[in-house]
């Protein structure tokens, strides 16, 4: 048994979405103890000591982020990023639908830790049904005196509000999310200042992903040392891996970080159980949805933790593993992904808006068989020119990953699709011509 259910507790306790069942499992114990007996700094300290890293993609240590919030500026806010929109990611939805109280308790603990009295949970607009479940859990928590005014007889008060987005991937970028929450276009802000100082309504704000905060209640209840018994020194705890694509058993799997390899996730009996079609091999693995470079079959023995996946030339990010077998046309796959980014580019900065447009334009030309060698070269050039801090936010950088990584590992497939120009595409009609 490789899986460990720190967050996906419902896999072991079916009715845990009900308050009574959640409490029987030790739920809200940490919360009650925090408001009655702990100082805000003690909560931050235990989360810091646990080494919990942000699960939304960047992997930044959560406790450290919380400690950046100034103590003497009020009001402060907690904003939960439940905009889950990365292709291949469906873990936050399962947490919200199946174990909502653990999220609510995590949000409350985070709010207490920074002494915020309002928290907003921003869910993507498509999460209308999950939002109903989460709102029911929040209502239950209010009725039980776990939220609201003077919680558990303390002088601490907290309101948690749900906010639904309306279909925009960019709102998963934390500053775009803040803009959206303020009723503006979901476009990213310049950083610094960082949200910890100037966030929602220009007040100090902590923004964390749903999965990150769902980790907090067991950490506060059982201690940092217990949490560190899972995972590695640098990547402590468990992580939910979203497995999708051409495997027999796609789904969410919660595993201690650094314990299994990509190969195990795809082929393991308690995980993907191998490829959907018999007799095929793995051609490409996307470890973090459309945003991370594709890894070839030779990377299957990479361990699943932040450092190992980065060392293999990609990133763990939101850990949404999309598996492609040897029948997949990688030019088609890259086109699909760039189509996504072009659709979701917010239009604020030129390199991303124009770059995604031209990459898609070239990819479609090549994919449809109308491309020439020079189009392949220009495609690589456009992607390279978007890198190096030219784009306003990471969406632009990420949009180049499918292009650069498929050109690196599967250049032969591009070559097979294009006609060679007489000069090989590098002369006067080349990319710079």
């Amino acid at each position: 048994m490789e899986q460990a259910f720190v967050i996906l507790r419902h896999r072991e306790i079916p009715d845990i979405q009900q308050l009574g069942t959640y409490i029987k499992d030790g739920g809200y114990e940490a919360w009650k103890r925090a408001v009655k007996e702990m100082t805000a700094d003690q909560v931050i300290d235990v989360v810091k000591a646990s080494g919990l890293r942000g699960r939304g993609g960047a992997g930044f240590p959560a406790g450290v982020k919380w400690s950046f919030v100034p103590k003497n500026v009020f009001p402060k806010y907690v904003v939960v990023n439940g905009d889950e929109s990365e292709p291949g990611t469906f873990k936050d939805r399962e947490i919200i639908e199946q174990n909502p109280h653990q999220l609510v308790e995590g949000v409350a603990l985070c709010a207490y830790a920074i002494q915020a009295e309002i928290a907003y949970i921003y869910l993507r607009g498509e999460f209308k049904a999950p939002a109903r479940i989460l709102q029911a859990a929040i209502d239950e928590a209010y009725q039980a005196g776990l939220l609201g005014k003077n919680i558990q007889g303390s002088n601490y008060s907290l309101n948690i509000y749900l906010h639904l987005g309306a279909g925009a991937y960019i709102c998963g970028e934390e500053t775009a999310l803040l803009e959206s929450l303020e009723g503006k276009l979901g476009q990213p802000r310049l950083r610094p200042p960082f949200p910890a100082n100037v966030g929602l309504y220009a007040k100090p704000t902590v923004i964390n992903n749903v999965e990150t905060l769902a980790n907090v209640p067991p950490i506060v209840r059982k201690g940092a040392e217990w949490y560190r018994s899972f995972g590695t020194e640098k990547s402590p705890g468990t992580k939910i891996f979203c497995l999708s694509g051409m495997v027999k058993r796609p789904g969410n799997y919660e595993v201690p970080l650094g314990k299994i390899k990509i190969r195990d996730l795809i082929f393991g009996e308690e995980f993907g159980q191998g490829l959907l079609a018999e007799g095929r091999t793995v051609k490409g693995v996307l470890p973090a949805g459309a945003s991370a470079p594709v890894l070839p079959e030779s990377a299957l023995d990479t361990l699943l933790d932040y450092e190992s996946v980065a060392a293999a030339g990609s990133m763990l990010g939101s850990a949404s593993f999309i598996i492609m077998d040897n029948t997949v046309d990688m030019v088609w796959a890259a086109t699909k992904m760039v189509h996504f980014f072009k659709h979701e580019s917010c239009g604020k900065c030129t390199p991303c808006r124009e770059g995604t447009y031209w990459m898609l334009n070239l990819l479609e030309k090549i994919d449809h068989g109308h491309g020439e060698q020079r189009d392949v070269i220009m495609l690589g050039n456009v992607a390279q020119q978007m890198l190096g801090g030219k784009c306003f936010c990471l969406l632009g950088d990420f949009s180049t990953s499918p292009v650069i990584s498929t050109l690196k590992h599967f250049r032969n497939e591009y070559d097979a699709k294009v006609q060679l120009t007489p000069d090989g595409g590098v002369g006067t009609h080349g990319a710079h011509g």
Binding site: S85, E86, F90, G125, K184, Y201, I322, I323, M337
Partner: protein, 178 residues
């Protein structure tokens, strides 16, 4: 078209501004506004309410939302235009959104979209002549493990086949008649 957009705050001598939102919607909006530090923050939930009551975000709907939130109608329209779940054009009673992003496409979503197109007799971004269904092919909806998948008016339907989709459409048609 622009006349109606501006009628709320520029052509003040024009006819009385439209107020179509119901009493209960206005009460709900009052409650919503209290959740935020600024009125403007309530624009997304308020647009959803207006969309539900007007059918889609007509210029009158935009005007009414702008008046309630004390914003310029063009600002409200820019928000409605930025986010894909707001409709500034008429849509069917049911908006069918099928994911054909990479993870779903690897599990037959493109074939499924084609089948549904044929079943409903419309291309993506079109509405059936009876006004019942609008079809859209959309990016990832966080149901990749249960592909092919779709949302109808934002409710999930997963692990789909054409047969299942047919049943769902029939039930939805029935629900309207009943």
């Amino acid at each position: 078209m622009m006349t109606s957009l501006k009628s709320g705050n520029i052509l003040e001598t024009a006819a009385q501004p439209t107020t179509r939102l119901s009493e209960s919607a206005l009460r709900e909006i009052d409650g919503l506004i209290k959740k935020y530090a600024t009125k403007r923050s309530a624009i997304m939930p308020v647009l959803y309410i207006a969309q539900a009551e007007y059918g889609y975000l007509t210029h009158e709907a935009i005007d009414e939302v702008a008046r309630i939130l004390e914003l310029d109608p063009t600002e409200v329209l820019s928000i409605a235009g930025f986010y894909t779940l707001y409709f500034t054009h008429p849509v069917g009673r049911y908006v069918v959104q099928i994911c054909n992003d990479l993870p779903c496409a690897l599990r037959g979503a493109e074939k499924f979209v084609t089948e549904v197109r044929q079943e409903l007799g419309i291309a993506p971004n079109e509405t059936t002549p009876d006004g019942m269904f609008t079809l859209e092919a959309v990016p990832c909806i966080a149901a990749c493990d249960n592909a092919p998948c779709m949302q109808v008016n934002l409710e999930y339907y997963e692990k789909l086949t054409l047969e299942k989709a047919r049943e769902i459409f029939a039930q939805l048609r029935q629900a309207v008649k009943g």
